[in-house]
Symmetry: C2
Subunit: 604 residues, 2 copies
């Protein structure tokens, strides 16, 4: 018997020792940091440090004998691969949620957690589950993962830069003024904002604390008098020429947030806090000081979702640039895969990923990628959030499927699109059937009109139906909001099965991205970004923003409607017209041939 | 100036006097009785007594100078007609809900209510709205409408009859046993059931306290030991041969419920109560005695929704009988409207309503109507829950639209269907366009396949899309559950825009009934009843139960897909085959001609 522990076993053992010292039976390790966002700094990658799982969502519950990892449908395959040690149990987070596991712990279970990392809604759910059998949550500070993490990186101090009003469309002072009016009408004293993209939007600044996402990790308290307390590391403000145009701005160290709130709260204070995206530590501090938390979705989240005209204009502009990169990429891919494959030097996933990046870098206003590209050949496409390994990147081969999900941060906005390719003829009927159904699903929402008051969960099935008809589905949402030079996944609007009580309103940006995945074989997804607009009769629809060619090779024309074919023909005509002049001769030629073959296809 | 008060003004004045005596600023008058059901006994028609509004849902908030009537989209037209006095303000209950009105009352408003008539969820919402500005709800017993209602009818004492196990498929003892297991697993001490259809199902009895609906108005307490306390007027049990087969059944007077609960509750008691369909008085009694209410949808509601095989069999059988009545009716209508119209003695709405009833009465096992038929000629069809006036019933004329929504209670189940007719050729393109879109909407759900975990609000838009495409919609749900010889509107499943977190599962019965309404002109609705069944691949779909011909005259074939036409052809073939032998010669001839013309239509 080998008595040397593997790294994961040794970390587990160290954590269990901490758990024993704190007299707890289990410990919660969420993927979230204190900002409950998707992108975390290396110092906050506690879940990855403990488990090796690097997905963008999930959590672990650690007991003395196992580590249960909860992930959603996008990550089950990846989690099984990254958490292969028998100490792990991988669980689907919605089918068997953490509270179900907690409810099954022995009677009286004491479960430790870090109150900066758990939002109030989770705290409420987990507490209720534990109380059923006499158990409880136990707040432990500082974090126990940090306690066992010997070489934990420093927190980031990315520079903060102002965003001009020409880009944002509204001054920070005007935004704060609107927020104050909200406090008045709701009888609130102050709000605690812990979502960094909301803070960036509110103060008209952008930062660089985490990858892909120009946010400023910080906290912000704003009161009904318009006083703004910003909890941000002063080093980030460095040589910024101007502070945001807010009347009463005070800078504090982030570490002082909780003690500030405890002091700022009086008996009877009404404090707005987002129950889903804030540390429960804030709520505990408010309640400890005799105040009440008013749980409401952050006003800023809802307000920022409805883009200003300037933001929409910027989004449209950067999507034209992004469309050029996509079209150049498609041309390059279609024209090179066969010969490279034939000469035994196939294009790799990483090469393709680098290529789309370099094509974007040639576009004016491009800053960096808006997320790590999913460049997935063959069966890798079945992992919805696959990231290719630079040292072991799979080849993109002739006749095989390839999927690219990729986007950019531009000075005037954020892009995100997905295309599925088969290079050369595709004879696999199952693939072609699924690809055609995914296109129909995509088309169903792209052409939908819907009345005011419609919410994302209402229209999700309209998209899925062509797949459901064939007994297929996909285990992820259908669409997400996108920030304006902010997070590529932006609340609160979302199209999915999950209840999302947010009206879709004009000015919102949302993706449409149905897919289909066959583990071990391939993944298919088609994704465009859209703005919601209002028609003359008051109905709403999705106005397309993305201009990237759609592979027509795998489509089975016989099972498509005339309307679907004509839509595709028009789309390629539009791509050609909108990008005309900006494409290289090679890409323009590729696009002209594609328009022609789409016309032939549509007429068939 | 006339100083004689109209009846409504005089009732309002009497109520205001009561309000002054009780020192309240407003008083809530819900349409609900203590059972929160759709059908109430005459003694419980408090909203109608005060306002004259006779719809099946709604409420009023009475202040000293006005009566604000809250109704949903089905009833806005009717409410405006029935509540024409300027003292009324008619409000859409979801667009401007009562809590919004309450929040706008003067600071510190005291709002009276009867705790037997308001469910906990409303109590919570209304209290919260009032608290924002220092107001509160004030429980007042007895009811203030009763106090001013001089000739209030007696409570009903309809006879109770047992339902045989051959019909129900499960003994009452077995049902109670399952309920006990639920108490065990959830750590509950007892439940308070106040929904009479749940009680009827649980005890395998049927009653006759209210119109159309064979329920027994009563309350029931069941504890984890299996003891059942039934709060029912003893006169209803009369000469019933056998009491339900429950081990420990105790009968109490309904009036003793609240005092019983106060005694039955101990400190720490965990009491299950449906927060949406129970009197808040129960919760107040439990909490007053130191117990806790566990708010959960009644276990019985959810369990009863999944019909037993015996119940499904019964439903199918009675639908064949009902289909005969519908087909006979359709034949009669199509063959008589022209001549009756021409001889200046047109068929009236009431005559048609009487005719479908008499045709049902000729069917074996028919008991009575399952709701008041909506027999609506021309513009009356625009009122979704129109009830024709026996003394002023509109004529059904040649070339004009007519709508019939009608159903029956049979010994083995409950039916509900709607058909829209145009007798003679219909040249109104707007009507034909809308009728075709309604048919497409109906077809969209009838042919849908969906994965497990799908809920009613997920698929509502699949149905509405053909209407949305044309900028149309309908302001009511798309489908409702149906009881087994119980309520024609049965929770918990529902297809609609409203969030309905109930999985659609095999064994559930649901209607599919899209429509379109043009005020002052016409209403269109097509409704079938379906059972949810599972396909071999694990996907679910709707299995049709209703066998009633669908008018093809107004359909515009050019805008229909081949699939839609072939579905209709198959449906009429099925109607003919399933009803064959049971139709009169006249109706069989009508059906044969319809099958033939549908074939011609489908081939065009």
């Amino acid at each position: 018997m080998n008595d040397r522990l593997t790294p994961v076993r040794s970390r587990h053992a160290a954590l269990v020792q901490q758990m024993v010292e704190h007299q707890i039976d289990a410990y919660l390790v969420p993927r979230f940091d204190a900002h409950q966002g998707e992108y975390t700094a290396p110092c906050d990658e506690r879940l990855a440090h403990l488990t090796g799982f690097t997905g963008s969502a999930g959590m672990a519950i650690v007991t003395k004998d196992k580590i249960v990892v909860f992930v959603d449908g996008r990550y089950t395959v990846q989690a099984r691969r990254q958490c292969a040690d028998p100490v792990f149990a991988i669980t689907h987070i919605t089918e068997a949620p953490p509270e179900q596991f907690l409810a099954q712990l022995p009677n009286g279970a004491q479960v430790g957690f870090d109150p900066m990392l758990i939002p109030p809604s989770w705290h409420h759910r987990f507490s209720r589950a534990l109380r059923k059998h006499g158990g409880q949550l136990v707040a432990i500070t500082p974090n126990l993962i940090d306690a066992i993490w010997t070489d934990r990186p420093e927190a980031p101090v990315g520079k903060v830069l102002p965003m001009q009003v020409a880009q944002s469309g509204e001054t920070s002072a005007a935004k704060i003024e609107r927020l104050k009016r909200h406090f008045m009408s709701e009888g609130l004293d102050f709000s605690v904002e812990t979502q960094p993209d909301n803070i960036a939007w509110l103060l008209n600044v952008r930062g660089s604390d985490v990858l892909y996402n120009p946010i400023v990790q910080s906290f912000l308290v704003c009161d009904r008098g318009g006083r703004v307390d910003w909890f941000v590391d002063r080093r980030k403000l460095g040589n910024m020429d101007e502070l945001p145009d807010v009347d009463q701005l005070n800078i504090h160290a982030p570490e002082s947030l909780i003690s500030f709130i405890a002091k700022r709260t009086h008996a009877g204070s009404q404090v707005a806090l987002d129950p889903d995206f804030s540390p429960v530590a804030v709520q505990l501090a408010v309640e400890g000081a005799g105040g009440s938390v008013v749980p409401e979705r952050s006003w800023t989240t809802l307000t920022k979702a409805k883009k200003t005209d300037a933001e929409l204009e910027g989004m449209k502009n950067c999507h034209v640039r992004d469309g050029v990169a996509w079209t150049e990429f498609s041309a390059w891919l279609h024209e090179n895969v066969e010969s490279r494959d034939a000469t035994n030097a196939p294009i790799t996933e990483i090469e393709a990923e680098d290529r789309i990046l370099s094509l974007r870098q040639q576009q004016p206003g491009f800053l960096y990628e808006s997320f790590r590209s999913i460049s997935a050949a063959g069966s890798n496409g079945a992992m919805c959030h696959y990231a290719s390994d630079r040292d072991a990147s799979a080849p993109i081969t002739w006749h095989a499927p390839y999927l690219l999900d990729s986007g950019g941060q531009y000075e005037t906005g954020t892009t995100d699109a997905t295309r599925s390719f088969v290079l050369g003829a595709q004879s696999d009927v199952a693939y072609r059937t699924a690809y055609t159904a995914v296109f129909k699903a995509f088309h169903a929402l792209m052409t939908l009109r819907f009345p005011k008051g419609t919410q994302g969960h209402h229209i999700d099935a309209v998209c899925r139906r062509p797949l459901w008809d064939l007994g297929m589905d996909y285990d992820h949402g259908t669409g997400h909001g996108v920030g304006h030079l902010l997070s590529v996944h932006e609340h609160p609007q979302r199209i999915g099965k999950q209840h999302n009580p947010v009206d879709l309103v004009p000015g919102m940006i949302i993706t449409i991205e149905p897919g289909h995945y066959v583990e071990g074989r391939y993944g298919i997804r088609i994704e465009n970004q859209c703005a919601i607009v209002e028609d003359d009769d008051g109905f709403l629809r999705f106005e397309n923003l993305t201009w990237a060619p759609i592979d027509i090779g795998p489509l089975i024309g016989e099972v498509m409607s005339t309307e679907q074919k004509l839509w595709l023909k028009q789309y390629h005509h539009d791509v050609q017209a909108i990008l005309s002049g900006a494409l290289t001769e090679r890409a323009a030629g590729f696009m002209a041939r594609l328009v022609e073959s789409t016309e032939t296809f549509a007429a068939s």
